[in-house]
């Protein structure tokens, strides 16, 4: 049977509480290349994401600005804030890789040390794994990211 860690407050560590209390990049962008929203009808949680890309000639597009807005518990809010904090400057491919890595982390796949260092302060969310019903809270902003990246991909494939 799953049981919680000895310290019941482990979930509410400094990084999570900091990002919950002072979410980063919450203001919406005046202009965005892509927007995505995910909603969990069972608990009413919502995550909205906007990305603005830079298109420097000869380089693959990279994420210049991000807005992540979440409604719901501390975990979804912290996850959205940490996501936004970690996306800037990444190319679209790198963003997709990070998203996969984060999913692997939340699903308990063994990760090599280099992957863990790649995740940086996102690693603070690993504790959520010990609270299985809360994993979907942490993942919701990332589902929005994946949806946004898919939209970009379709547009790219359509030659836009």
């Amino acid at each position: 049977m799953a049981s919680l860690p000895d310290n019941p407050d482990a979930l509410y560590g400094d990084v999570i509480m900091d990002h919950y209390r002072r979410p980063r990049h919450r203001a919406s962008l005046s202009y965005a290349d892509v927007e995505a929203e995910e909603f969990n009808p069972f608990c009413g949680d919502r995550a909205t994401l906007q990305l603005r890309l830079s298109h420097a000639a000869g380089h693959s597009p990279s994420i210049q600005d991000v807005s992540a807005h979440a409604e719901g518990c501390s975990i979804i809010q912290a996850s959205a804030s940490l996501l936004a904090d970690n996306l800037r400057g990444r190319t679209v491919e790198q963003a997709a890789d990070l998203s996969q890595l984060f999913r692997d982390l939340m699903q308990g796949k063994p990760l090599p040390p280099v992957a863990l260092s790649e995740l940086g302060d996102l690693g603070a969310l690993e504790v959520v794994r010990q609270y299985p019903v809360r994993v979907k809270c942490a993942l919701l902003p990332w589902v929005a990211l994946e949806e946004g990246l898919r939209k970009l991909g379709r547009r790219g494939a359509a030659g836009g």
Binding site: L4, P8, D9, Y12, C43
Partner: protein
């Protein structure tokens, strides 16, 4: 009854004492365990109640000794299964004081009871432009079936509003009743607010205009004595699993004259008197509405649950839970940052609350770490959340097996929430 192993119910006199409750708690094996190293404090009884030993024994006794299909065979096992299945029906009839056991229809639960009436009664008797009245505090299961019917045949849903305490505005209700009203379908006790609605007055006003009334008793039947004849309702439905019985079984009670006029809801075996390829003659009630092999073990378990509740006494249960709820409401009201949602004068054992500083899920997780089980979310009553402009509440819902010590543990858990979230 053919059960050999079912315990004789304990007897009680006078109000429930702490000793009585200790004795009762021993009937519920699930309560005796540690959750995250702490004794389980089960305060999610409005979602589903725990099962006492006599219910568990009745179900296992059926499978161990009597398992057979009902109303089908001449052999001994089939006779025993049929007797026990029908004994459950009679126990339920007695419990709600229905005039006749043929009016007790086994369904899967409240949701199916409401859908049965919407599908069968609604499709037959409602026309475009007709109106159905519900309250603003319905569970989704008493909203959506009418909406679906509304789309199909063009009926209009009217909603009785309620005040900030969670009490229906009866004047508004009265002014909604008109010659287009075909049915009033109301929740007896709100699962989100705890409000106990004045169903007898609701019935009186509707009947004065010849309008039938359906009552969703999912949350009231485990906590209040219910007498359908005194209440005057025309249909009443409830779920076994919220009244200490098994999941998958519930009851729709309806007045025989109404049920007789209604077409079957599903078709197949059991509900048929004769079938040829030209014509089918339906059975009489209740079998007309019980197509297919029913949940036999569930019905037997529900019968045992009813007997268990009768042995304690519904008046005694209501009085004990009322005192426990008042104690909990006082303690919560005295806790800084906690806002009680649902403060109707007449309400049952539901403590629904909201904290500005912490989301309901975070509160739920911290309480779980303390061994406390509560429900967090919108409780399938999103219009109620919208009425108070909040996304979700934490709901502690009480049973006669809960104690004031458990309320104290809840308050300590909330103190932990305040430590973490401020």
């Amino acid at each position: 009854m053919t059960a050999a192993t079912v315990n004789a119910p304990a007897s009680f006199s006078g109000p429930l004492t702490n000793d009585d409750v200790e004795r009762i708690r021993r009937d519920f094996p699930v309560l005796d365990q540690l959750i995250n190293g702490k004794p389980l404090v089960y305060l999610d009884n409005a979602a589903t109640t725990q099962k006492p030993r006599p219910v568990i024994d009745a179900i296992s006794n059926y499978y161990l000794h009597n398992n057979s299909n009902v109303h089908r065979g001449v052999h001994t096992l089939s006779q025993r299964a049929t007797d026990d299945y029908e004994a459950g029906r009679e126990a339920i009839r007695r419990f709600i004081n229905a005039p006749d056991s043929s009016e007790i229809i086994y369904v899967r639960g409240t949701t199916e009871g409401l859908n049965l009436v919407a599908s069968s009664y609604g499709r037959k008797f409602f026309r475009a432009g007709d109106e159905v009245i519900i309250t603003g505090m319905e569970h989704h299961s008493n909203i959506v079936p009418w909406q679906i019917l509304g789309k199909e045949i063009g009926i209009r849903l009217r909603v009785i509003p309620f005040n900030d305490q969670g009490e229906l505005l009866m004047d508004e209700y009265e002014s909604m009743l008109n010659e287009r009203t075909r049915l009033v379908s109301v929740v007896h006790q709100s699962n989100a607010l705890g409000t106990i609605n004045p169903v007898s007055s609701i019935v009186e006003l509707a009947h004065a205009r010849g309008i039938p009334v359906m009552v969703d008793a999912a949350q009231s039947i485990p906590h209040l004595p219910i007498d359908v004849q005194a209440m005057g309702a025309d249909f009443l439905t409830f779920s076994g699993h919220k009244m200490y019985g098994p999941t998958g079984i519930g009851v729709l009670w309806g007045r025989a004259d109404l049920l007789n006029d209604m077409p079957p809801y599903q078709s197949g075996g059991e509900m048929i008197r004769s079938v040829t390829y030209e014509e089918t003659i339906y059975s009489v009630i209740p079998h007309k509405f019980e197509a297919g092999t029913p949940d036999i073990a569930g019905a037997i378990g529900l019968g045992a649950a009813v007997e268990y509740l009768e042995a304690i006494g519904m008046d005694r249960i209501a009085a004990y839970e009322q005192a426990l709820m008042r104690y909990g409401a006082e303690r919560l009201a005295a806790t800084e940052g906690v806002r009680l949602i649902g403060t109707a004068e007449n309400r049952g054992g539901i403590l629904s609350f909201y904290m500005e500083s912490a989301h309901a899920h975070d509160i739920g997780t911290i309480l779980d770490a303390e061994g406390i089980a509560v429900r967090t979310g919108h409780h399938c009553a999103q219009p109620v959340m919208a009425r108070y402009e909040i996304p979700a509440t934490v709901r502690a819902s009480l049973s006669f097996y809960n104690t004031t010590e458990e309320i104290d543990t809840l308050i300590k858990g909330i103190d932990r929430v305040i430590e973490v979230f401020g």
